[in-house]
Amino acid sequence: MTERKTDIGPPHYGQFLHPVIKANYGKWKYHEIIEPGVLLHVSETGDKIYSVRVGSPRLVSTDFVREACDIADKHSQGYFRFTSRHNMEFFLTDLAQLPALKADLAAKGLPIGGTGHSVTSIVHTQGWVHCHTPAIDASGIVKAVMDDLFEYFGSHELPAQVRLALACCLNMCGAVHCSDIAICGVHRTPPKVLHDKLRHLCEIPTTIASCPTGAIRPHPDKSLKSVIVNEERCMYCGNCYTMCPAMPCFDAEKGGIAILVGGKVSNSKTPPAFSRLAIPWIPNNPPRWPEVVAAIRKILTKYAEGANKWERVGEWIERIGWERFFEVCDIPFTFQHIDDYKFQAYDTYRTSMHFKF
């Protein structure tokens, strides 16, 4: 066996660049979107490259990747890439090659789209496939929602791009906090302290420090070497469970899904913005989560109907006002919508007469 290598880092990207990309690196002049999913980039040298964007479930098998490689070998000179939202992109140097590529993709059931004013792939997380804190599954909900919104993946019919993301718990690995529409798994039960396990598994000071609301205190019975939870102050974030496995907060029926809306990341027109709570809870209903699918379609449809050209979801809502958003989407406004989390609450007050009836 060879000497053990460490800290070599990833391979240099240089060896993975398609020849046309390598030749025109840093020289691109402009782009066009020929049709949904098909980008054209034109270089100052006059060179052109076509990129074909293709959806993927992200949670895949090695065979899936090998099949993508087969396609790339056949159509894309053995190069391809993934996007920051987990789509694949194949490169063509001639538009005439497109029909053949399309045919092969169709044969594999792989959709083309995700560019421009579309719904592109949903950034998401592990869920029940591989994580220990989820309130919900990830891939299953994504599949159900994308099946429903499929028409929007391969078209440019929306007023602007719409970015969905899913996180299966409040850790928000899907970074749903800045998405046009965000799906977030939420627990609704305070942790049950398993005193017997806790004393062996957990460090008490770290466990106490993990609680954002200070709901955890040392157990008054010192001999137990455990903690107690002030359930009234617990908002089920699960952070104590992350630090201490003896504090599970799962409940099959009470767990569920919150929908947040109106976040964004780009600086185009308006600055980046957080997603805001639209629906505090929808039941967790596998295998196809019909209530979640319906809620998202409703919001997306109302947005598509109501938004001005170029308006992202959040820009649309800011223009019509949140009171109208809840009205047109027929979403009841609840105590949960009103921020009561420490310092953040302060800035969400309506401190003006600027409201509508």
Partner: protein, 418 residues
């Protein structure tokens, strides 16, 4: 094979099905068949069946592996150990099929054959292997030129947008910067020594296609300082409908330059008389809107670099944050020593003062921005704030009084002391 009546319902519909794909892998691998069975059980129970991971890893590394065990090992023995291996991806997720096939072979040999392309931080995520497979798998990976990504309280695998490789708006070489910085911080990437995770994402322009501002403690976003370059005849072509808005990304036929561009410019620094488009570039805030809508008519300026923003993260512990402008403009030339130094200095300050599991953005909130800025030698600038403070509760340091005494007024720009 376990029966999976619920999961089977996710095989229909037009979006590619992960269930169909997992079944392919399950057919070859018993542990993956167990994974499917376990997942089906979660669909029935509506609860996860994964337990906390113990500490597992490869020799000398503290990160890159997430230990994972099922709570139903008797029923699903293949999932008893089911650890994650994070493999650091190449800049902008570019591959040759050759390299990918090599990776897939390794994973077929040492794991479940199930993976994520990619994880949400950017890594290639190999999902599910046994403790004893870790070391051999790692050896194979490094042999082929791959290394593990970050996990735990470490530097995390940086990622970047496609930038200069295929985008006309890249204000600096995101791919090279991503590579350079990944190499620079190899030690910190593999040996958790920070108070908590430390992420870096690099976007070539304010469109921020890797969501750096929201998803990375260190967010490096390209920007230009001089004038937007205008091709007036192309503007005319957009006005006339010969060129399609946003390069064809929409259902809209043609641009109304006044309504769609000028009136939506957030700084109102543009004007259009039907013939000539003018931009008061000094007032432009680089939002990209006009450029986005008319990629053939407008191009960013040529005095280029990046802004450095700091602090974003998801809600744990105190609520989500977006990154805050720290350095409004920095040169971004290879080997990016300025960026390396800045990030090291920040990490040093944070490591010194941060509590366990306190992200750097939270530490700034706790200690105040001045503490950071002084530690890293960055001067206060109005670009750092959206708006100055409303409360009158501000501190004065002896250095301020000293500056004042030297006749420098209260001005910390002049009186600035490292």
């Amino acid at each position: 094979m376990h029966k999976t009546p619920l999961l089977d319902q996710l095989e229909s519909g037009p979006w590619p099905s992960f269930v169909t794909d997992l079944k392919r892998a399950a057919a070859k691998k018993p542990q993956t068949a167990d994974l499917l069975g376990l997942l089906e059980r979660s669909y029935v129970d509506k609860i996860t069946h994964w337990k906390h991971g113990g500490i597992v890893g490869v020799l000398g590394y503290g990160s890159g592996i997430i230990g994972r065990y099922t709570d139903l090992p008797d029923e699903f023995p293949g999932c008893e150990h089911f650890h994650t291996i994070r493999v650091n991806h190449p800049s902008a997720w570019m591959y040759t099929t050759k390299a990918l096939r090599e990776l897939m072979d390794i994973w077929d040999e040492h794991g479940s054959s199930v993976l994520n392309m990619h994880g949400s931080t950017g890594d290639i995520i190999f999902l599910g292997t046994r403790t004893e497979e870790l070391e051999p798998c790692f050896a194979k990976l490094t042999e082929k030129g791959w290394d593990l990504g970050g996990s735990g309280s470490a530097f995390r695998s940086p990622s970047c947008c496609i930038g200069p490789a295929r985008c006309e708006w890249a204000m600096y070489d995101t791919l090279e910067a991503c590579y350079e910085l990944t190499q620079e911080f190899q030690f910190d990437l593999h040996r958790p020594s920070y108070p908590y995770k430390y992420k870096l994402k690099l976007s070539g322009c304010p469109n921020d296609c890797v969501a750096a501002v929201a998803r990375a403690d260190c967010s490096v976003i390209g920007v230009w300082k001089d004038d937007i370059r205008i091709d007036q005849s192309a503007v005319q072509a957009y006005a006339g409908g010969e060129l399609k808005p946003r390069g064809g990304a929409t259902k809209y036929d043609k641009l109304d330059i006044q309504k769609d561009v000028v009136e939506l410019c957030p700084t109102q620094c543009m004007s259009w008389d039907g013939k000539t488009l003018k931009i008061n570039n000094r007032e432009c805030n680089h939002c990209m809107h006009c450029i986005n809508l008319m990629p053939q008519a407008l191009r960013p300026g040529t005095e280029r670099g990046a802004a450095f923003l700091l602090g974003s993260h998801a809600p744990i512990l105190e609520g989500a944050q977006l990154s805050w402008v720290i350095v409004p403009f920095m040169e971004m030339e290879k080997p990016f020593d300025n960026l390396k130094e800045l990030m090291s200095n920040i990490a040093e300050w944070w490591s010194e003062h941060g509590k366990n599991r306190e992200r750097v953005g939270e530490l700034i909130l706790r200690l105040g921005m001045r503490s950071l800025l002084e530690a890293i030698g960055v001067e206060p600038a109005p670009q750092q704030v959206r708006i100055p403070r409303a409360n009158p509760f501000f501190f004065w340091y002896q250095s301020d009084f000293d500056a004042e005494a030297k006749g420098r007024r209260y001005d910390t720009r002049q009186g600035f002391v490292r």
